[in-house]
């Protein structure tokens, strides 16, 4: 089971101070602050705050963006793809989050996040990569199953880029009740840290002709797992 650690990351935020519009803050042209390629412990990786202010409410959002390089894994079959993270005990509020498709970090995972990626580089309408999941206020490592869309994108592009959003952000609904949902993680470095993808990988089948049959037509052979090859060898 290979592991791929993050190649790029960013944590960005906007509001709540001065942000009186839910959608205005959520879908702003730029964030108000960001940090790239952090390895921090107890980093706030997602958040949604609604607080009653003067004649209305103020809204704050925080997201984290993650890029993973799948180079070397594009020819075969990826399955059982999971997003692994290590929470910290600094979290507060409702810690329901969701992972979705992100298009930043350049055409590959070659560029750092830029301030305009805040909303514009999130696929719209949102393309979920996971169901909603809870990030517990603990230090127990968690593994979140990514869906078939994420698997397809990883295999097709050779890069998987995603955004972590609190469900108060993901759902796009301006709630009318004050709340403060802050999710903290221990990030770690990009080779042995705490944020990585794990998956099963099956290398592609034999790429040449088999008894004059083109590779494209030997799907029945390509689809056989290694454990069953003895049946072929035994023929």
């Amino acid at each position: 089971m290979p592991n791929i650690y993050w190649s790029k990351n960013a944590i960005a935020s906007i509001g709540p101070s001065g942000q009186s519009s839910y959608s205005g803050a959520r879908e702003a042209a730029e964030d108000s602050s960001n940090t790239t390629n952090t390895t921090s412990t107890n980093a706030i990786v997602s958040g949604f705050i609604r607080t009653s202010s003067r004649g209305g409410a103020a809204f704050g959002f925080r997201r984290s963006y993650w890029g993973f390089d799948f180079t070397g894994y594009t020819e075969g079959t990826i399955s059982n793809l999971k997003f692994n993270f290590k929470p910290s005990t600094g979290s507060t509020g409702t810690l329901s989050n969701r992972l979705a498709q992100f298009n930043g970090f350049g055409t590959e995972v070659g560029s750092n996040y830029s301030t305009g990626d805040w909303w514009d580089s999130i696929e719209n309408p949102l393309v979920p990569y996971s169901n909603a999941f809870n990030s517990p206020d603990s230090t127990t490592v968690q593994a979140i199953t990514l869906n078939s869309t994420a698997i397809t994108d990883a295999g097709t592009d050779g890069f998987l880029k995603l955004v972590l959003m609190n469900t108060g952000d993901y759902n796009g609904i301006a709630v009318g009740v004050d709340q403060s949902n802050i999710t903290n993680w221990n990030v770690g470095n990009n080779s042995t840290g705490n944020i990585y993808l794990s998956f099963d990988y099956e290398a592609p089948g034999y790429g040449n002709k088999v008894n004059s049959i083109l590779p494209a037509n030997v799907s029945q052979i390509n689809g056989i797992s290694n454990s069953n090859i003895s049946q072929v060898i035994g023929v």
């Binding site: 101070s17 009186s20 009653s52 004649g55 209305g56």
Partner: protein
């Protein structure tokens, strides 16, 4: 921590507090609003009579209201740091009544009014204001409120409202950063 549990800092030109949990300094009110407070007071006092002011703040609007010819001036204030200031301000004003508490909690003890100015902060009941407002107004009464939105709309969704537009140039702050203030006017 909710607003009324925060410790307010009273400066010459603004009231602020710092939310330690999220590390943000919030302006509650600032003196750049003076013109807007004056205009708000003028509108609700056009017919004189009994005036209700919800939220004391820096006493800017309260002082303007007192400059008009009115019968009574009721002020509702719920922040424990603000109440003593309102009481001290009212000490030499015979027609002022200070009501302590949330406007929503005390609404059933109130009368009806010829003018009403709603300007609260951190108000957990603000979504109920549009429903309660008519019960506080006399026929022909005039109401306005702090309008955090720009353009001809209001947070409360109150209908049949007209707006006077004021050009403003507020310093960067946590509650209003537009260059035009739409003063709402609602007559019953």
């Amino acid at each position: 921590m909710v607003y009324i549990s925060q410790n307010l800092e009273f400066n010459e030109n603004k009231i602020i507090y710092t939310d330690a949990v999220i590390g943000v300094e919030w302006e509650v009110m600032m003196d750049w609003e003076d013109t807007l407070m004056s205009a708000s007071a003028a509108y609700i006092c056009e017919g004189g009579g009994d005036i209700l002011e919800i939220g004391f703040g820096m006493a800017i609007s309260a002082t303007y209201i007192q400059s008009h010819t009115i019968n009574s001036h009721t002020i509702i204030e719920n922040h424990p740091d603000m109440i003593p200031k309102a009481q001290a301000w009212a000490a030499d004003k015979s027609n002022v009544i200070i009501v302590e508490g949330s406007w929503h909690d005390v609404k059933d003890t109130l009368s009806t009014y010829d003018g009403l100015f709603m300007d609260t902060y951190g108000d957990q009941d603000m979504d109920k204001f549009s429903t309660v407002l008519p019960s506080l107004m006399k026929a022909g009464g005039k109401a306005t409120w702090w309008n955090s939105m720009t353009g001809s709309e209001n947070y409360y969704g109150i209908s049949d409202v007209t707006y006077d537009v004021y050009d403003v140039n507020p310093p960067l702050n946590s509650y209003f950063n537009y260059n035009q203030y739409y003063l709402p006017k609602k007559q019953f």
